[in-house]
């Protein structure tokens, strides 16, 4: 079955701030609303560290009692982040699905469980692929 993705509506809009999308170090089996500002954002604390002649902003947070360490990260260069929502969940599994973009972002807050965010994290390593893909699939 095919999935239609419509991103036209958000491209003109402003990007949402980094606190809009939170990358969590756990698998949450849920799709729906979450009261971030009520339960999550209030517990986020920023720590400014001096590391090798530059300022490092480390974030500390909490989710279900678990200590989180995080940092704000930009989406890979040349890319835009988009939040999609299914407009009307189909009844049959072989029906065509439509996803509509509801907002765009260029920064996310990345969280690790009790470990500082680093280049070794899967997410950061995964984002490296975008630049490698460019080189491999470059049609020039």
């Amino acid at each position: 079955m095919s999935v239609n993705i419509d991103v036209t509506s958000v491209l003109e809009k402003e990007c949402k701030g980094s606190s809009h999308v939170q990358y969590m170090p756990c698998n949450i089996e849920y799709d729906g609303e979450a009261s971030l500002s009520t339960y999550f954002t209030k517990y986020v604390k920023e720590e400014v560290k001096d590391a090798e002649n530059r300022e490092e902003k480390v974030l500390h947070g909490m989710f279900r009692g678990y200590p989180l360490t995080g940092a704000v990260m930009a989406v890979p260069e040349g890319y835009t982040g988009v939040v999609l929502k299914e407009t009307r969940p189909g009844l049959k599994s072989d029906e065509e699905r439509t996803m509509k973009s509801i907002c765009k972002f260029n920064e996310i807050t990345f969280w690790n469980w009790d470990r500082k965010a680093s280049r070794g994290d899967e997410y950061q390593q995964a984002m490296d692929w975008t630049s490698i893909a460019d080189v491999i699939h470059d049609s020039n």
Binding site: V3, A34, Y39, Y66, L84
Partner: protein, 309 residues
């Protein structure tokens, strides 16, 4: 006792100190350590110290500073007032340890146990007392874990002090009882003035102990399906964990996944060839074609082509 520094940010720990009696800077002192709120599933754990000159230790007893476990909240407040009235020779300090901090410690990798949190708090309070100029000479504590081990650990950190760790120390030593009273009063006040950052509006959660039906009711009703409980609750308590598992959206943390993977480890016997059956028993099947697997570059980075959501 003004706890507003804790109340305004009740997810962080805070220290509170009484005025330092001058006499405690010049005379050798006894210092008692005790805690309040270790067992409950709600609210902070408070560690307290109470100190006075050795020469005045018995005076604490005559002031009525005795076994605080048998006192009601009202009686404790009265005794705390008495301690305050005798601030010319009695001093105290507290560390209010937030429930968020307790959960975070117990969910750290590796885990920091409640006993460790307790030991660290006691040690930091004693160090602060010494740094403030109090002539600490003898320290008395109620035991956390095996008493001999705890005593040896503390004696090692404070070789010049006489450390005594005993069971029911709050009944044996007035300064420990004083610490217990201060800690309990602080915990009572921290709870009664608790402001939920989540905007929850509940004032009655019972005793805060997991066995209390009013507390259990509060736990059931204060849940958010995604985020679980408000920060008042110690998530790492098994009562809280069970309710979360039953009522909230399931989440899997990496360590849980690693444990599941271990269960799927094939038995060593799978690596040995199966016994040859005679040809007449079964038609010989050719081995299945190997599955095409994604390059580990992608699997390591959790990258996969997505054709559907």
């Amino acid at each position: 006792m003004d706890l507003s520094a804790f109340t305004s940010k009740n997810w962080e720990n805070a220290y509170f100190d009484s005025v330092l009696p001058e006499i405690c800077k010049s005379e050798p002192c006894v210092l008692g350590v005790d805690e309040a709120g270790r067992g409950p599933v709600l609210g902070p754990m408070v560690y307290g110290i109470c100190y006075c000159p050795i020469s005045k230790h018995e005076d604490l007893k005559s002031a009525g500073v005795a076994d605080s476990k048998t006192l009601t909240e009202e009686q404790r407040e009265k005794l705390f007032t008495k301690i305050h009235e005798n601030s010319d020779y009695i001093g105290w300090s507290l560390e209010v340890i937030s429930p968020v901090y307790i959960s975070a410690c117990m969910y750290k990798r590796p885990k920091v146990s409640l006993n460790e949190i307790s030991h660290n708090s006691a040690i930091s309070l004693i160090k602060r007392a010494i740094a403030a100029g109090i002539q600490v000479s003898e320290v008395y504590l109620d035991t956390v874990g095996p008493p001999e081990k705890y005593e040896a650990k503390l004696q090692d950190i404070f070789p010049t002090l006489k450390v005594t760790v005993a069971k029911k120390a709050d009944a044996l030593y007035p300064c420990v009882s004083g610490a217990s009273i201060c800690a309990k009063v602080a915990r009572d006040r921290a709870l009664s003035s608790w402001e939920f950052p989540e905007g929850v509006e509940v004032k009655n959660w019972g005793s805060g102990y997991p066995g209390d039906p009013i507390t259990k009711n509060f736990l059931m009703n204060s849940l958010d399906r995604v985020f679980g409980f408000p920060g008042l609750v110690r998530f790492s308590w098994s009562t809280a964990e069970k309710i979360l598992e039953e009522k909230c959206v399931p989440t899997t943390w990496k360590d849980d996944e690693e444990e599941d993977e271990k269960k799927n480890t094939p038995s060593v016997l799978d690596y040995f060839a199966k016994k040859q059956k005679s040809l007449s028993d079964e038609a010989v099947k050719s081995p299945p074609a190997p599955k095409r697997r994604r390059h580990h570059y992608f699997t390591e980075r959790c990258l996969a082509p997505v054709t559907n959501f």
